[in-house]
Structure formats: structure tokens, C-alpha cells
Symmetry: C2
DNA sequence: TGAATAGTGTCTATCAGACATTATTCG
DNA sequence: CGAATAATGTCTGATAGACACTATTCA
């Protein structure tokens, strides 16, 4: 029986890092420098190191690619992918992670030679990513869309402090829909622990200044916010 | 860089197979015949075989342990576990799967020598399962509890055809709560695609015979059923 | 008939969605 | 003031939860 086992298996960690810029969901991609898929775009990732767990590997990769530390970001395991033909070099099982980060002020500068670029996720849906990364990206986006319904992860896309309008825009962009500002405000302000008031306000160029909030302690949103809402 | 990679990694698939018997959630466990953890109870599982993907491996293991084919059961990936110290033999990454099966008429007869036994899941929560299997089991049960809220997987625990009372008992047992029969009936019968009527009835020893249903085509339950409901 | 279970009907508080109105800022 | 955005208030239809009531079977 032992001789039927797969040997020489490699385990990698791949990251689906999402942010929101210019009114669209963007995903962090790197250009591959080696075969296979040389020159193609791929999800950032790498091999598990000795003595390193998958969560730690994902955190390390994320820091290498974005400079972001574990705090103030959202990172969750997406799922594992291990179809035998997913990597032409041999049997590579990857554990995919999903990260939500706020729009970063500086362009990403990875610690290694790879250039990491923010790319509109929409353009990649039918596009050509290396390996099975298009499928992993699609799964990540679907998880994100579902997560906004019943968790508070949407706030992970916002740089603190943020306004309720900014939070609403996250929902509108990820769900590709319009939400009624009034009802959205009522919903999130009455969700215990979703938001903590700062008491401060931020003046825009025009109009009444908006109250500023930070992420609250809650991670689950009960009752959920539903996607079914019609546009105006 | 390459020399920092973990080498000699093994990938296994472990199964959290849940069913409901005697009014309690039961999990399928095997007694380990080899070290480490010889004699201890563990989740059924095994190594990925050559040319076999994780989903296929999980289906194969499930069939070996329960005799159940892919149809008429629910199987989903739970998540991957790969902490470096989870297996004393070396680096073993496992991909855990969660399966819901109806209460099986015959006792389980595995195709290999291991004895598979149904064990009340509650007894295992603080109990001593091999490896990190207690944690995997806990994650699986939590996933099951959440899944009942917004998917139709509860019906996977029922042998077809089933009554609405039987379906309600699934919810009550998994959630460890009581649900109002009248409101539950209204909810599930008005959820499009949850149930399909058979037109038949089943007479019990006592009382009015119950209408019989089969699983409907829907897999998502919108709006969800909430756990918050108070007991009677 | 009575016991037991299945199934229907009804009342009410709550809430999502629609939308009107007021508040606060800048030019 | 007018324009623009934030924030509050109000109305209504839908529904979850509570619970009364009817239906159907067996002994």
C-alpha cells in the first residue's frame, strides 16, 4: 500500500490579496520569472519552509509582498488545491489564503525581485493566469462576496478611520450593486460591535463632514446584510 | 532559497464523517493499528495516491469506510492543516473533508482491516483523538452548525424519503435547541427548492401520517434559518 | 373517545426597503 | 443662498416567533 503513495509532493501557499482602488476590486499579482508560465501573471506565493506552518507562511508571504504586518489586516485560509495536473513540474499541493487589505498608500515593493502589481480582478476572470490561479481567484472573490454578508470583514478594506459612506462603497463595489445609504447606515450602526465611534469628523471638499469610525470587536454580523437589495 | 524548502512532505486526506443516531451527532472514527497513537481513535483518512486529487481521495476513503458512493451524500472540503508539529513522524499536511451521511442501516464494514465505529461527537470534544483530530472535528462540527443556517445540507442527514419532523430533528440535534414545529414547517416548505413533495405519506405507530419529501434542487437557503430561536 | 402526531391559521413585534426630511459644510 | 453630502425620520409590506386550533390516525 505504501508504494501507491504520492512521493515527492511539494506544498506551497498562494495568496489572493484583494483591495479596492479606483472603484474596483484589485488583486495582487506577480509576473513569473521562471518556467513554467514564464512571463505570465500569477498569484503571489511560495513553498512552505522548514518548521513553518501554512498560516505562518501566508503571513510571511503577505509581508514580503505588501509590507503589511499581521495586525490590521484580514487573512483567512481559502482552501487547498491539489489536482494532480495543476502544476506541470509535478505534484504540488497549494493552500490558498484570502487577504483583504486597505488601499495601500505606496505602490507595493516586494522584498524579492518579483514585481507585484495591483490588477483589476474583473479583467482576470476569463484571463490567463498561471496554473489554476484563475480558479483560485474566482473562489476567493466568491468567498469575499459571501463574507460581506455575514461577517464584518468589509471594514478590513478601509483605512482607519473611515466613514460609513466608505464602508458602503466597499459593499457596492464588491457586490456590484447600489445600496440605499440610509438603510445601510441604520443596519451597520445597529449591528453591535461592527463599528466604534471615534467622535471625530472628516471634512470633504463639499458637504457635511462625515463621522469617523474604526473597526469594532465583532467579527460576525448577525443578522446579516443581504445582497438581494435592489438598486435605486 | 530552494534549500529552505520543506522536503519529504506527505499529504493526507482526513474525513469528518457525521451522521445522526439516537438523537445525537455521531462521527466515524477508526482505531489506529500503528504508532504513533497506536490504539487511539482517529479520523479515517489516508495518503493521497499517485495521480489522485484530494476530492477523489476523499471520495475513495469515504466509500472504503462507509460503502457510500458519491451520489446521495454531501462531501465538502473543510480546510487544510499543516502545522509542523501535528504529526510526530514528520511533515504531514492534511486536507480535511466534511461529509454528512444518513444513519446507515448496516454497521460500517471497511474494506481494510480497520474497525470504523460511530462515536458520539460530544464525547470527543475534550477527548483524546490522535494527532490534531480533535481540533479538526471541532472545526467540522462548527462548519456543520453554520451550514444548516444558510444551506440545505441538513437534508443530507436524512434517508429519503423523509418527513418534515425528521428534518427538524436534524436541526434540533445539531444545534442542540428546540424549534417550533409550526414555524419550521412554514420556513422550509416556503424555501424554494429545499424540498420536493412525493405525495406519499408514512404512518407511524401513532398519530396522523406525515407527508414524505425528498431533497430538492436548491443548495442555498435564502433567507437563512437562524439559530437564535428560543426554545419552547 | 382519547392520545398522539401532523398540519393550518392568526396575531404581533420587528425589520428591510423606499423615500422624505433635516443638518452641516463650502463657495 | 445653492449645492452637495451626512444623518435622521417615517411609512409599509413581509416575516419570524408565539401559540391557538384543526386534521388524521390508532387503540
Amino acid at each position: 500500500m505504501s508504494r501507491e503513495h504520492e512521493t515527492g509532493v511539494s506544498v506551497t501557499v498562494d495568496l489572493v490579496v484583494l483591495t479596492i482602488r479606483d472603484g474596483a476590486v484589485h488583486v495582487l499579482l506577480v509576473e513569473r520569472g521562471n518556467t513554467p508560465y514564464r512571463g505570465a501573471l500569477a498569484l503571489p506565493g511560495g513553498y512552505l519552509r522548514v518548521g513553518e506552518g501554512p498560516d505562518a507562511a501566508a503571513l510571511r508571504e503577505l509581508k514580503e509582498e505588501t509590507g503589511l504586518d499581521g495586525a490590521s489586516l484580514h487573512l483567512e485560509q481559502l482552501r487547498a488545491y491539489g489536482e494532480p495536473d495543476r502544476d506541470p513540474r509535478g505534484r504540488v499541493v497549494t493552500i490558498a489564503y484570502l487577504a483583504f487589505v486597505p488601499d495601500l498608500p505606496e505602490p507595493v515593493a516586494g522584498s524579492d525581485a518579483r514585481r507585484a502589481v495591483w490588477t483589476p480582478a474583473r479583467d482576470m476572470r476569463a484571463g490567463t493566469l498561471a496554473f489554476d490561479h484563475a480558479r483560485i481567484l474566482a473562489d476567493g472573490i466568491e468567498r469575499a462576496r459571501a463574507g460581506l454578508e455575514y461577517t464584518t470583514v468589509a471594514a478590513a478594506f478601509c483605512r482607519e478611520p473611515f466613514t460609513i459612506s466608505e464602508l458602503r462603497e466597499v459593499y457596492e463595489i464588491v457586490w456590484e450593486t447600489r445600496l440605499d445609504p440610509s438603510n445601510f447606515r441604520r443596519k451597520v450602526t445597529r449591528s453591535p460591535g461592527f463599528l466604534t465611534e471615534t467622535g471625530e469628523r472628516r471634512a470633504a471638499d463639499l458637504g457635511r463632514p462625515a463621522s469617523l469610525y474604526r473597526r469594532g470587536p465583532a467579527s460576525i454580523l448577525n443578522p446579516p446584510i443581504f445582497r438581494g437589495q435592489d438598486g435605486r
